[in-house]
């Protein structure tokens, strides 16, 4: 009974939700499901209408492609302003000019390149105290507590660029093995 219920719980807890209803993705999920992972800065943006959606299209200055390839250095983020209209999509990231990001990208069957899981796939690239490049997502690294109720960090949401490269390498090997 206890095993069964624990499994039920984990199933339920796995799907966090937001404005847009989102499914919580681990870094490994994102590595696996992304069609491209890049280090890039936003070099400007414009808006387009595609079907029912207004998208903000960010042009990227790509410094490095960590996984896959990009047909064009553009990423489509749902929501934005086009002509006399504004589309609100809570959960869409805003890419600030000048900031260096690691972006987990996904190309739809029709070639629309978006960030995975909206803002889940957006990490700022920063330097740790030891000078190592680390991926940081918002304020999330400072929210957790350990067994004594003290602040702790969530290793799954703050990782070094080196460990990301290793994850990508492992995923690539897994894919080749299949």
């Amino acid at each position: 009974m206890r095993l069964v219920t624990a499994i039920c719980l984990l199933t339920l807890a796995a799907a966090a939700a937001t404005a847009t209803t989102l499914e919580k993705l681990s870094v490994d999920d994102m590595v696996q499901k992304s069609t491209a992972i890049v280090r890039a800065r936003a070099a400007g943006s414009s808006s387009v209408v595609r079907g029912s959606m207004i998208y903000t299209v960010y042009r990227l200055q790509v410094a490095e492609v960590l996984k896959g390839s990009l047909a064009s250095a553009e990423v489509y983020v749902p929501g934005g302003t086009y002509g006399r209209y504004r589309q609100s999509v809570a959960g869409s990231p805003v890419l600030e000019p000048g900031v260096e990001y690691v972006l987990f990208l996904w190309a739809s069957p029709r070639g629309l390149v978006q960030v995975i899981g909206l803002s889940q796939g957006v990490f700022e690239l920063k330097q740790s105290a030891s000078g190592e490049p680390v991926l940081v997502r918002g304020r999330i690294e400072a929210e957790l507590v350990d067994a004594r109720g003290r602040a702790a960090q969530d290793a799954g949401l703050r990782l070094t660029l080196g460990s990301l490269r290793e994850s990508i390498r492992r995923e690539s090997l897994r894919r080749e093995a299949r």
Partner: protein, 825 residues
């Protein structure tokens, strides 16, 4: 009470509540919110149509079907129509995937393969940039909204609680609502405490009503206002919550200067607390789970984290605040203390039933098993500085029962008193002196959820359901459509499933008013109704041509379903033409009333219909034409007329030909000739044929040789008339023998009905002001054939000029003019 300030509420609100899509017109106080919302005046029938783009096959869970998915979408939309204090209504607009953008506002529901991994659903408005003024305040009108679902729905079966609540949640976004943290359907799945059987919380009701208030909203509910400051500075985007044990919470977010306004509070006593927005958790947007409001200077960011505090500055609930209907309790201010980070938040609770995890934790008063399992940030490991309690409840967390459940999960036992009442309980978590309140973290019910033990088909097409906790108030649904239910006895129901396409397999679920459903018991193993060999529901509508601005009626014919039990719904495929109402007129016939928006552009739209679970794409089209001068009846202006057989019906006609006279005009109602009595101004008066039974009928007018667009009239029973009144001693009440309050009075009534035995609970005698006089008996009047004697006890009533006005109603029949009963002073 000391700060209770009773003020009459007026339109034009100061800065306040925020759980909508908000812009502020200025960057300095006063911060008047400008909301994204639909302009109801731009919509024919004041209803927003939603179109389902059934564009291609879906990948579904085993046993699921597109018919079931579409029915759940319609059911989720209908949830928002249950908010009585909000004027907005949603209406199924049809199956449609092509849009040209020149119509009245609408909602698109579409399935797409362009949602990236990690996105399960998406909803939100597309608004015009310009601001529009209105008596309810300035707003930015929503031009259309979009609700997107993935084509692959294998992870969320259509019958599940989660799929349904996701749909309700996303529809909320399309209407202009954002997230709150008070466990309503607009909370995220983490803390959401609503269920399929009770999908909305009071916070959701308030949120929608603030955007689209009815006249009653601000009369029936109250307001709390105040300001949240830190070191004298206003705190932006702090969440202020009013709650009391046994009721769901209502909240608002602060404006940039820290002011807030919680609207939509039912009268009563409340604890009020303020908490910082929790930081986003994995899988949520940054920095908080909202599209941030904006001033002309840019986005408004949340203030720094602070210690949660109850009014008036206590760490826990001590002082209640009184809220009265139509009043405002002002000055509920908070001074908050900064903390470095929010360490405890986003807690979800579970209980278990039949090996299924139930969220939120739902406990039965008489059960032996009352354990709450929970997990969340800061609430997932035991520590000496961590504790949990119930907010101001007679029920308690059992001391010493807090323990680990499994890695990352804790559990605690709840002690429920035998006198406990049903409803939500709020949890308070404490960690190192930090407070976190989880509204509706536990729900208390009297009984266990309903269960369906057996389903036995009956020869007449009904089903016999046997199980536990199947009650008089139990509703039974097949997929997203309610079935007809007859209560036999406790645990036994007779159920007639809604019509569905032949071969369909529908999931059967019983819902109880306490919010529990048989899905708790059976989950994915819920019983299924098979429609193998069932008659295929079908519907025919004529090709429809309607000029912009006009109203008309069309006759519908169908097969495979009894329309008297399952009224068909017609959908015009355009937001420029609303279906105001459909009347079933026979087993396979119905009449639909349509209204086109003035200014609608000429267009051709695909007609659709819904009969039970069957969504039908009709081969006929609806054509909107430019106004062509053809006469039409303003059907909407006739709705207050009481039309009865033999009586007069006055048709307000637009484009009435100048040449039309009584002599050269004809009319039929229900296909029977109806004498034209008078034509004056823009009105045509016609006699309703005396042989018509109560019901809806097509009315066709030929005016001076010009045919008007068909109209519809609803014929009611001949109105009952109170002829005279007698006292218990048989004397007639008169000015010389007046009645007195409390007297037993016998009313002699004509046209109360043809049957001799009329049940007393179908007869109502009332006076203006909502006064109802108890009906003690109804019997035939031996003195005068065809009349009845209705015995009442006279309640206190205003008696202008020494006479008490009395009205009588029987079913749909009601007296048109009051009988004046002489009353002693």
């Amino acid at each position: 009470m000391r700060r209770l300030a009773l003020l009459l509420l007026v339109c034009g609100w100061p800065a306040g509540a925020y759980y909508h899509f908000v812009r502020y017109a200025s960057s300095t106080p006063p911060f008047t919110p400008v909301y994204d919302r639909f302009d109801l005046n731009a919509l024919p029938g004041r209803a927003v149509p939603y179109f389902i783009a059934a564009n291609g096959p879906l990948t579904l869970a085993q046993g699921d079907s597109e018919t079931a998915v579409y029915s759940q979408i319609r059911a989720a939309a209908a949830v928002w129509n249950s908010v009585a204090t909000a004027e907005i209504k949603l209406a199924f607009g049809g199956f449609r995937s092509e849009f040209n953008g020149s119509e009245a506002p609408y909602i698109q529901v579409e399935f797409t393969d362009e949602l990236p991994p990690g996105v399960l659903a998406q909803g939100g408005p597309v608004s015009r940039l310009e601001t529009v003024d209105s008596p309810d305040g300035a707003f930015t009108p929503i031009a259309r909204s979009v609700l997107r679902l993935p084509r692959d729905l294998t992870a969320r079966p259509s019958w599940s609680e989660r799929f349904f609540l996701t749909l309700v949640h996303e529809f909320g976004h399309t209407l202009g609502l954002q997230h709150t943290w008070t466990s309503g359907v607009m909370s995220t799945e983490i803390t959401r405490a609503t269920t399929k059987a009770r999908p909305l919380g009071q916070d959701d009701v308030a949120a929608l009503s603030v955007l689209y208030p009815t006249a009653e909203f601000r009369q029936k509910t109250g307001v709390i206002t105040g300001r949240v400051t830190m070191s004298g500075q206003g705190v932006a985007l702090a969440s202020v919550v009013a709650l009391v044990s046994g009721r769901p919470a209502v909240s608002a977010l602060t404006a940039p200067d820290g002011t807030y306004r919680i609207e939509g509070l039912p009268p009563g006593l409340y604890f009020v607390y303020v908490h910082p927005l929790p930081p986003s958790i994995a899988g949520e947007p940054q920095p908080v789970n909202l599209e941030l409001p904006a001033t002309p200077e840019g986005r408004v960011l949340p203030g720094p984290p602070f210690q949660t505090v109850f009014y008036p500055g206590t760490p826990g609930p001590v002082t209640t605040i009184a809220v009265v209907a139509g009043g405002m309790t002002a000055g509920i201010d908070f001074q908050v203390t900064p903390i470095t980070r929010v360490n405890v938040h986003s807690v979800q609770t579970y209980s278990f039933y039949n090996r299924n995890a139930i969220k939120p934790a739902t406990l039965q008063i008489n059960s032996d098993w009352r354990t709450v399992v929970f997990t969340g940030y800061g609430a997932n490991v035991l520590s000496p500085s961590f504790s949990v309690s119930l907010l101001n409840s007679p029920d308690t967390i059992v001391e010493g029962s807090l323990r680990e459940y499994s890695a990352g999960y804790l559990q605690a036992n709840v002690s429920v008193t035998p006198f406990s009442s049903e409803g939500p309980r709020h949890l308070i978590f404490w960690l190192n002196g930090e407070t976190y309140v989880l509204p509706s973290g536990v729900v208390i019910t009297q009984k266990e959820p309903p269960s369906i033990v057996s389903v036995t088909p009956q020869p007449d097409g009904w089903l016999l359901l046997e199980g536990r906790n199947l009650e008089r108030t139990t509703a039974v649904w097949v997929d997203g459509e309610p079935a007809r239910v007859e209560f036999l006895e406790q645990g036994r129901l007779r159920v007639l499933p809604p019509p569905a396409p032949s071969g369909h397999q529908g999931v059967l679920a019983a819902w109880n008013p306490d919010g529990q459903s048989s899905l708790y018991t059976h989950g994915d193993a819920s019983p299924v109704v098979s429609y193998a060999g069932a008659a295929e529901p079908g519907l025919d509508a004529p090709p429809i041509q309607i000029p912009a601005g006009a109203e008309m009626a069309v006759e519908l014919r169908g097969t495979g379903a009894d329309f008297r039990l399952w009224t068909p719904r017609l959908a015009t495929g355009t937001s420029d033409v609303a279906v105001r109402k459909v009347w079933a007129t026979g087993e396979g016939t119905a009449i639909a009333w349509l209204a086109a928006r003035p200014g609608a552009a000429p267009a051709v739209a695909p007609l659709s219909a819904v009969v039970g679970l069957a969504g039908l794409r009709l081969p006929q089209a609806l054509t909107v034409t430019a106004p062509d001068g053809r006469p039409y009846v303003e059907i909407s202006a006739m709705q207050n007329q009481y039309l009865s057989p033999g009586g007069a019906a006055t048709f307000p006609v637009i484009n009435l030909p100048f040449s039309a006279t009584v002599a050269n005009s004809t009319a039929t109602i229900g296909g029977l000739p109806a004498a034209v009595l008078n034509i004056a101004g823009s009105s045509v008066t016609v006699q309703v044929p005396a042989q018509l039974k109560p019901g809806a009928y097509l009315a066709e007018l030929s005016l001076g040789g010009v045919s008007a667009l068909p109209a519809v009239v609803e014929v009611r029973p001949v109105p009952p008339i109170i002829l005279y009144a007698m006292k218990a001693d048989g004397t007639t009440v008169s000015p010389a023998n007046p009645a007195r309050t409390g007297d037993v009075i016998l009313l002699a009534v004509a046209a109360l009905g043809e049957e001799a035995d009329i049940p007393i609970d179908t007869v109502e005698v009332s006076s203006p002001g909502g006064v109802k006089h108890k009906v003690a008996s109804v019997r035939t009047n031996p003195r005068e054939a065809g009349t009845h004697l209705v015995e009442i006890r006279l309640e206190p009533v205003d008696a202008p000029n020494g006479a008490a006005p009395l009205l009588i109603a029987h079913g749909e029949a009601r007296s048109l003019t009051p009988f004046l009963l002489p009353l002693a002073p």
